[in-house]
């Protein structure tokens, strides 16, 4: 074929997306910050001379940059930097694990609802609608107030309030993709429903799923902090950015740095994930490929 069609060289979806993504400087910055936060949380504690749970009651409320404690010490004389890093482990992993759970549930529900439509779809999507009727915070608080707080419960709870959005996105995608010729062709050449759903359709919804995933991480980190702020979160002495903030609020007037450090960390992490999601959205959405 030597037609004109070949004259406009097309890039692989991934390649083109990477080029578009690279141009999105904020998203790149977001990715870098996330990397720094993740590495910092993962490796940082090994580099610091302080243990995040070591209490030195004589050194309470040391302000930042005074002595060895870069970010100062908290109400029990623990190193804020060390707690920030350990808190990062908790907060980031809650964010990521909650996202993974929410994604898994959302994708399965959305795929089934979108593929089968009809009664199955209606029932599943009404369930989604029903859960969406509870404002997230309401649902989270109701659930949190009713269960024992902890790492796993918090993660699951946050996931439980986040899967509906994914389900909706996937449902819409699958529903429209189901009518696409390649899906009909797969049906025509005898693919099973599961095969069509998860081999043909879901991979094609990957763009919105990836975007939703990053935004969900951001949301989950925020939610963790809300839950902890309201007093149902990660149990002490483990640190999370949320419970650090919660503990700090009564010292807001006397030791504001205690509130500033985790607040900035949360904002930074959430902003980065949001930027990343935004960049991915632009990169993966071919409609944005208008010259």
């Amino acid at each position: 074929m030597t037609t004109a069609a070949l004259s406009t060289v097309q890039l692989a979806p991934g390649q083109a997306a990477w080029r578009r993504f690279r141009r999105h400087r904020l998203a790149l910055a977001g990715a870098v910050i996330i990397l720094v936060l993740v590495l910092g949380s993962a490796l940082g504690p090994y580099l610091l001379p302080f243990d995040d749970t070591y209490i030195d009651i004589l050194k309470r409320f040391a302000p930042p940059l005074s002595g060895a404690h870069i970010l100062g010490t908290d109400e029990l004389g623990r190193d804020v930097m060390a707690r920030l890093m350990m808190g990062g482990r908790v907060s980031l992993s809650i964010g990521i694990v909650a996202m993974v759970i929410a994604m898994a549930v959302g994708i399965v529900v959305g795929a089934f609802a979108g593929f089968y439509g009809g009664v199955v779809g209606a029932v599943l999507m009404r369930l989604v609608d029903a859960v969406l009727c509870f404002p997230t915070i309401f649902l989270l608080l109701a659930l949190a107030a009713l269960t024992e707080p902890g790492l796993i419960t918090t993660t699951v709870l946050i996931a439980a309030t986040a899967w509906m959005g994914v389900a909706r996105v996937v449902e819409a995608q699958v529903r429209s993709l189901r009518e696409r010729e390649f899906a009909v062709a797969a049906l025509a050449f005898g693919s099973s429903n599961l095969r069509i759903m998860f081999r043909e359709l879901v991979p094609n919804a990957i763009a919105p799923i990836v975007v939703a995933a990053t935004l969900n991480v951001a949301k989950a980190i925020l939610l963790e902090s809300y839950v902890s702020y309201l007093g149902y979160g990660i149990q002490p002495p483990a640190a999370s950015w949320g419970n650090m903030l919660n503990n700090a609020q009564i010292y807001l007037t006397s030791a504001p740095w205690l509130a500033i450090a985790p607040g900035v960390a949360i904002t930074l992490a959430v902003t980065s994930f949001n930027f990343l999601g935004d960049g991915l959205r632009d990169a993966l959405d071919p409609r944005m490929n208008i010259p």
């Binding site: 074929m1 037609t3 069609a5 004259s7 797969a186 025509a188 050449f189």
Partner: protein, 628 residues
């Protein structure tokens, strides 16, 4: 090619006369338009020059990517400034549009040069009434009062033959069909009596009968208004129908510019020759009972191969491969709290036909006639309400899922859009092998061999298996789709508008491939198409569908040479003939719209009677609705 010499001379002479009498309205010289891609200026239109004289229609014709639309947009300076660059000269009545300041350009647009676009469905603002959208040009450019503009708008709507113009003034675009919207666009374009109308593929999205109406209308209006038209199209039939002069574009360049008759009579550029050779011509198959390959012309040298007749592939001895009887598929339209059926789309209504092994039966008709639904119903991709489909004597519709999956190995489907037909996230090899894997028919290495074999069979190479769909052109993708359809060794292929979206030259090649495969594998095709000329070329038998019913069916030669049903006649008359010499025959410019197959829930379809014209050629008896 059989253009009447006298006819073409007449047209050429007329065009020359016009051109000499007036200075060109529009003169394009050395137009080069580039777009910024990857920080580089990539020229998309290169050094294009042509003139449009007063009252003249100039067509720019070319295949996708040839730069014809960009040329049109460049004249209007509608290329985004930040990412596009226009060079050269565009002179409109002595003024260079490319150097004009933007505010003055606004006075040109819509006033001296008007434009209409391909997609009537999206080109009108959905939240504004059509009257308003026309009137605002009048108010803005001609300073009319609101009332005067409204009166003028109604007059314009009348002129583009919109029935009940006054009452429709306040309606929004969604209340209009595609053809009517295009009339609205034309009315809008004519509002300020422009010197030049640029029509960018204005009929491409329309059905053939509607296309004919719009072309007629444009011609009439041009005569009344005395304006020039720059007509962008890919369809040589339309070119022959409307253009005085033609610019052939290829790869961003104007490769040939001449009077239309001259180009059709004696194309000088190899590409033009190749293009014309690939254009299917209705009536060119007279006297040939079997399908025929298209001649293939080399685009560089212009040399052509000799099209050969296809061998007789139809097996007459056995029982037909496919027997469809009384097939009916309706889609309920539900509304209300309990999903009460408030109406039904009678997509397929009581149709029956047979198809023999090695035979091609074409289903033709316009949008909404149910031809695609018929194809899908046969494969049980949609559930028919009634009727039987026998494949090799086995009842497809009554099968359980497992048997159906097994049976589908015998029949496969190829779709219109080669871009949508392949999963973009699957390599071509995986896509072709998917049917094998889905049915558990082959090991990995067996599948690899089979894929290689199939790729070669459809004219590609085995090493392409690792590539992804986006690396292929539309024609190649359609070959891949065909390869995938062949993977299970089917005996019947439903080709649902399989070549309709392809460029003319590619279309010819794919049709040739399908004919070759039929010859070598004895495939039966149910060839669903709205493109009558292609159907004529490639089918043994033809069934014409209208509102879900087959109104006429029979051997292709018989139906095309002796159409009986008024709809068949109308359909065939509407097909633009790529022969400027035959343009003279004016067709009746009706305002008929394509009727909707939506019926009330209690609608009882009438019992139809049929008449056999010649052996195998059957026509539905029609009632008064066609008598007018």
């Amino acid at each position: 090619m059989s253009i009447g010499a006298s006819g073409s001379e007449q047209v050429v002479a007329g065009a020359r006369r016009l051109a000499e009498a007036h200075a060109p309205v529009l003169s394009v010289a050395g137009l080069t338009t580039s777009f910024m891609r990857e920080r580089q200026w990539i020229p998309v239109v290169r050094n294009v020059s042509f003139d449009v004289a007063a009252r003249e229609t100039v067509a720019i014709v070319g295949e996708s990517g040839s730069g014809k639309s960009v040329t049109a947009l460049s004249i209007m300076r509608l290329i985004p400034q930040e990412s596009g660059r226009i060079e050269g000269r565009v002179t409109l009545a002595g003024r260079d549009l490319l150097t004009l300041p933007e505010p003055s350009m606004k006075d040109i647009r819509g006033n001296e040069v008007a434009m209409i676009f391909q997609e009537p469905m999206t080109s009108l603002n959905p939240v504004l009434t059509i009257g308003f959208q026309i009137a605002e040009a009048l108010i803005y450019h001609r300073g009319l009062s609101r009332a005067a503009a409204e009166a003028e708008t109604v007059r314009l709507l009348d002129r583009v033959r919109i029935p009940a113009a006054r009452s429709r003034f306040h309606e929004h675009p969604h209340r209009f069909s595609g053809g009517m919207r295009q009339r609205v666009m034309i009315a809008m374009a004519l509002a300020c009596k422009p010197k030049l109308l640029i029509a960018d593929e204005p009929t491409t999205a329309l059905d053939v009968t509607i296309q004919a109406q719009i072309l007629m209308l444009l011609k009439e209006l041009q005569e009344e208004e005395g304006m020039s038209i720059l007509f962008i199209t890919h369809d040589m039939g339309v070119v022959a129908e409307i253009a005085d002069r033609t610019v052939v574009m290829y790869g961003g360049q104007a490769v040939e510019t001449d009077a239309t008759a001259a180009i059709f009579a004696a194309p000088s550029h190899p590409y033009t020759r190749a293009l014309l050779a690939a254009v299917p011509r209705l009536g060119s198959m007279d006297g040939r009972p079997r399908p025929m390959r298209f001649p293939i012309v080399d685009k560089v040298t212009g040399t052509s191969d000799e099209p050969t007749d296809t061998p007789d592939t139809v097996s007459t001895a056995e029982r037909p491969l496919l027997e469809v009887s009384n097939l009916t598929t309706r889609f309920p339209i539900r509304s209300g709290l309990f999903g009460k059926v408030s109406g039904r789309v009678h997509a397929v209504e009581n149709i029956s036909f047979t198809l023999r092994a090695g035979e091609t039966l074409a289903l033709v008709g316009e949008s909404g006639c149910g031809k695609s639904t018929t194809g899908r119903s046969i494969l049980k991709l949609v559930a028919p309400d009634r009727g039987t489909v026998l494949l090799d004597g086995r009842d497809v519709l009554g099968m359980d899922d497992r048997t159906l999956r097994d049976c589908r190995k015998q029949m496969q489907i190829v779709f219109q859009d080669p871009f949508a037909s392949l999963n973009p996230r699957m390599s071509v090899g995986a896509a072709i092998a998917a049917p094998l894997h889905a049915n558990g028919l082959a090991s990995a290495s067996q599948a690899r061999d089979k894929v290689a074999d199939l790729l070669v069979r459809v004219g590609l190479t085995a090493d392409m298996a690792a590539r992804f769909p986006h690396e292929f052109s539309g024609g190649q993708r359609q070959r891949i789709c065909i390869a995938r359809a062949l993977a299970l060794g089917p005996r019947l292929i439903v080709a649902d508008e399989a070549v309709s979206a392809l460029d003319v030259s590619v279309k010819a090649q794919v049709v040739n491939l399908m004919l070759d495969l039929q010859a070598s594998m004895g495939l039966a095709y149910l060839f669903i198409s709205h493109d009558i000329a292609v159907v004529e070329r490639m089918s043994h038998r033809v069934a014409v569908m209208y509102l879900g019913e087959i109104v006429e069916i029979g051997p292709r030669a018989s139906v095309f040479s002796n159409p009986q049903h008024p709809y068949t006649k109308k359909l065939m008359a509407a097909v633009p003939v790529p022969d400027p010499a035959r343009r003279g025959a004016r067709r009746q410019a009706s305002n008929d719209e394509i009727r909707s197959p939506v019926r009330a829930p209690d609608y009882q379809p009438p019992v139809r009677q049929y008449r056999e014209v010649t052996p195998g050629h059957v026509v539905q008896l029609w009632g008064e609705e066609w008598s007018a």
